[in-house]
């Protein structure tokens, strides 16, 4: 079953026995584990419309009798799996075999395709819908940082971006619904402007296959993927509400969708409001947040071969930054660091957001037209536009705190045309295409401050080809990509008098990758990838000029920078012993020649505001060696013990020092209990409990002269989660209670800029109610 496309979760083998309007039809079949092919017992198979249902027996078989002629929803659920829903049309006795993906806790996972196909994909990690639902209050970065190899770089609780195997910002593309997120992604104090609640799945794609997606790619990309609407003509959706005790954040997420032959639609809306977070001993004054997001997905079949999707989304946030972290110069920073609690710490809780703060709006419109040439081949045409508006507010003199100190408007237009062929008879799958991207970045002049990032236009034209060969025991991936990049920059140069200087650059980027996966046996798999790619220097690396308040330093771009050349090799292994012990690991080695980084120079620049350290973008050679691993042991029925860990050594090979702003190593131990409660009509189902501890090691490879202040100590955090599904008039009400930092541990994290100023958040209890209709 491994060699071919494994057919859908749902393979319908309809056997007609009888026709008529009677209520004597039967639905029967078997449920199998998609990964092992073994039958699965105690899987719930229900038809909520008529309150009928059953569980599979020890052979994985089920039978539901006395079904009337008509249309129904069939719901298949099993602990550890996504609940799957099918819309079925019963005209006769029906045999329905179901393959369930029973691998939600594994590194490797299976992709669900819109075209009712399931393919095995090498080298992926993912977060599934159930976990996204349970964590509706979290940001994208917070949500995915539990994945092995993923951490976050942040500026307080609400501003954070993901770091994957040491790659982030300019080196990591995040794709929202197939479109590379475009905004000010260079800074460590910029969050991706994506509401994770739109996603059915968030996953990492490594290796050759990732070359079919747009965006900068040094071996890994992050995909945020909404689900197609499906074919259910009824109105379905979910309303959820959540509350966090720490910061008193509350909010709601509403989702609704319906299928219609004329036009199908899906809506997703999220609102959040939070106030000052608190550490175990004091408030983090001015760390509130507001967020208002909405998205609309419209699907229409133009013909039986042509499908179109229009996706519109708007993300709007306002984020407070710890008041005590706003500093004038280097002396202020040292002074702030030596305090027990930050300056400006208020005794009282508040929802107010004052300067320093950020206001970010991001709007996306995407049109996608898929035209099937035959059952296996299609052309995809995508057009999209994004507008990113970022305003950063500082504490300013003369009543100017309401005027942004940094204001950037960025338009991004994208078009792609691809040809795809997935013919299962030929063993070869082919993905090829052209992509064009235009980015237009403008500083509105009303800030009264010289811009750090200049106005510019960047155009990119790309061609790619990805091939995949699947044989019974071997899968091979090959990919190649070429991009031509053109930059036109208009920078204000310091005078006096000030004047504008234009710069033009062109770059050629190449990527080539190959990967192979070998199934040693049904339970053992080994895979390897090689990935070579180049990345042209980004605008901020070339042309930034001025004081970067966020890092309290003067940042100087370097127009002599060359492209980065990266070679990444990965080796993955996974095995299962006696269906009890699962071991998975992925080791990687990445060498980046001409690695671009901010080098602190010996110079302290004297300004009227005092002395500031000067950072200049320079190039060196970077070496990344890492291992992400996960071991799960099924100790009792329904109970797993999971150990996972991430190790990364990132080294500047020219100096022998560690690279700064790289994640510390961590270990996680967890116990998971998931009890389906397989009595047919019990009120509470899918009871689940998780308790765990996360240990973050101290970074030891950073020398004293590489940072202003010493690196924070190691820390351990305990967390709990408790949840279940309640039956309320044939609908499901899911309840989740979570406790983070259970022991109210006082700690600081190296990758949070606020570690210079304040402790991390203390204990947080969050509640989440979700009602599905």
């Amino acid at each position: 079953m491994y060699n071919k496309i494994i057919l859908s979760f749902l393979i319908l083998l309809i056997t007609q026995v009888l026709l008529g309007q009677s209520c004597h039809f039967q639905i029967s079949g078997s449920v199998y584990d998609l990964n092992t092919g073994f039958p699965m017992q105690e899987v719930s198979v229900e038809i909520p419309d008529i309150k009928s249902g059953t569980y599979t027996d020890s052979l994985g078989q089920y039978v539901i009798n006395n079904i009337c002629f008509g249309q129904y929803h069939l719901q298949v659920s099993h602990i550890g799996c996504e609940t799957e829903k099918y819309f079925i049309d019963i005209k006769a006795d029906t045999i329905l075999d179901i393959w369930l993906d029973h691998a939600s806790h594994e590194l490797e996972a299976v992709e669900i395709d819109a075209q009712q196909e399931v393919k095995r994909n090498p080298s992926q990690t993912e977060i599934k819908q159930k976990d996204i639902e349970k964590n509706a209050e979290k940001s994208l970065t917070q949500l995915i940082s539990s994945m092995p190899g993923v951490s976050s770089i942040s500026n307080g609780n609400s501003i954070s971006k993901p770091v994957i195997n040491g790659m982030y910002g300019n080196r990591l593309s995040i794709l929202n619904n197939g479109i590379a997120q475009s905004g000010q992604q260079w800074g460590n104090d910029h969050s991706p402007e994506i509401d994770p609640n739109v996603a059915a799945k968030i996953r990492l794609v490594h290796g050759a296959e990732s070359l079919k997606y747009p965006g900068t790619n040094l071996g890994t990309i992050l995909l945020v993927e909404p689900k197609p609407i499906g074919h259910d003509p009824h109105l379905h959706g979910r309303v959820s509400g959540f509350y966090d005790t720490n910061g008193r954040q509350f909010g709601s997420n509403i989702q609704a969708q319906t299928y219609n032959k004329f036009l199908s639609w899906k809506f997703n809306g999220t609102i959040k409001k939070g106030g000052d977070r608190f550490t175990p001993s004091y408030f983090l004054t001015n760390t509130g947040n507001r967020e208002y997001d909405g998205s609309l997905q419209l699907e229409k079949s133009i013909s039986d071969k042509t499908f179109s999707t229009l996706y519109l989304s708007s993300f709007n946030s306002q984020l407070g930054i710890l008041r005590g972290s706003h500093i004038g110069n280097l002396n202020d920073l040292e002074e702030a660091f030596n305090r027990d609690e930050p300056f400006f710490t208020s005794e009282k809780f508040s929802y107010n957001i004052e300067a320093p703060s950020q206001k970010v709006n991001h709007h996306l419109a995407k049109l996608d037209i898929k035209h099937f040439l035959n059952v296996n081949a299609w052309i995809d045409y995508t057009l999209s536009s994004q507008l990113n508006e970022r305003k950063e507010f500082d504490v300013r003199r003369g009543g100017r705190s309401d005027i942004p100190a940094l204001s950037l408007n960025q338009w991004n237009h994208y078009a792609s045309l691809t040809y795809n062929n997935e013919d299962p008879n030929k063993n070869w799958y082919l993905y090829s295409g052209l992509q064009v991207r235009i980015t237009d970045n403008t500083n509105p002049p009303n800030t009264g401050i010289l811009p750090l990032i200049p106005d510019y236009i960047e155009d990119e034209s790309t061609a790619f080809l990805v091939l995949k060969n699947e044989k019974p025991k071997h899968t091979t991936n090959l990919g190649i990509k070429y991009s031509f990049v053109y930059q036109y920059v208009a920078r204000i140069e310091t005078g006096p008098p000030l004047y504008v200087q234009d710069y033009k650059n062109t770059y050629h980027n190449f990527s080539i990758a190959a990967g192979h996966e070998y199934l040693i046996s049904k339970t053992k798999k080994i895979s390897g990838d090689l990935f070579f790619s180049t990345r042209n220097p980004a605008i901020n690396e070339l042309y930034s000029n001025g004081l970067h308040q966020g890092v309290s330093g003067i940042e100087l771009g370097n127009i002599t920078l060359n492209k980065e050349k990266s070679l990444r090799a990965t080796l993955g292994y996974s095995t299962t012993w006696f269906d009890k012990l699962k071991v998975q690991g992925q080791a990687y080695y990445q060498y980046i020649n001409d690695f671009i980084y901010l080098l602190p120079s010996d110079e302290l620049r004297l300004t009227i505001r005092g002395a500031f350290p000067v950072y200049q973008y320079e190039q060196t050679n970077g070496r990344f060696v890492g291992l992400d691993t996960k071991i799960a042991y099924n100790i009792l029925k329904y109970t797993d013990i999971v150990l996972s860990g991430s190790y990364l050594s990132a080294k500047n090979t020219d100096t022998g020092q560690g690279l700064v702003y790289m994640p510390a190593n961590n270990l996680r131990a967890e116990i998971n209990l998931e009890y389906p409660n397989p009595q047919s009509h019990s009120v509470i189902k899918n009871f689940n409990f998780t308790g765990g501890v996360l240990h973050n090691f101290k970074k030891t490879d950073i020398d004293e002269n590489q940072d202003f202040l010493p690196v924070p100590e190691a820390y351990s955090l305990l967390y709990l989660s408790l949840g279940g599904d309640f039956r309320v008039s044939e609908k499901t009400l899911s309840v989740t209670l979570k406790v983070d930092n259970l022991l109210n541990t006082k700690y600081r994290d190296y990758l949070n800029r606020l570690h210079y100023f304040a402790d991390e958040m203390g204990r947080n209890i969050s509640m989440n109610l979700s009602y599905e209709f």
Binding site: G328, Y381, L383, R397, Y419, G448, S461, I608, F612
Partner: protein, 188 residues
Amino acid sequence: MRNFRKILFAVLIFGIISVIFSCKKDDPIIPNEEELITTVRLKLINISNAKQVEFSFRDIDGEGGEAPVITAGILEKNSIYLGEISLLNEQTNPADNITAEVEEEGVDHQFFFETDVLGVSFYYQDTDIDGKPIGILFQLATQDAGQGTMTIILRHQADKNADGVSNGDITNAGGETDLEISFDLNVQ
């Protein structure tokens, strides 16, 4: 064949979009840096002989660019000076007087004076509406001859009620530094 025409059509649309490539960015409007302080002048008058001494710090191109130009005067020993600070933005013509802005927001601003020359001391000569010092006007007293440096710091949103702050001790002041400059101080 129909498929072929469809592909051709799609390629054509794609081509048209690629051609509408923007390739030149309009020149940005240079912002008016109203908040910028380019120049600090310190005027000191010896109250016994009315002799005037001036210290100045000029960084016309703002943060970054050329290094600032610093000039320092010589003070007489065993003397009392009356001092006044003026802050200017000389990028505009005529120069903007930033001192007025500081004075207006007096409650949010305070100057601090530090020196390593023995016997030199500073006293505030002005107050904000809450009766707390600002430091635009100050008194400087010298005793013995000596050499060292004098640092002047302007803090924005300092906590003037914190311990010692009203007496010129910066330790508990907090806030952010709007200005921090040092001069060579020579008392003869």
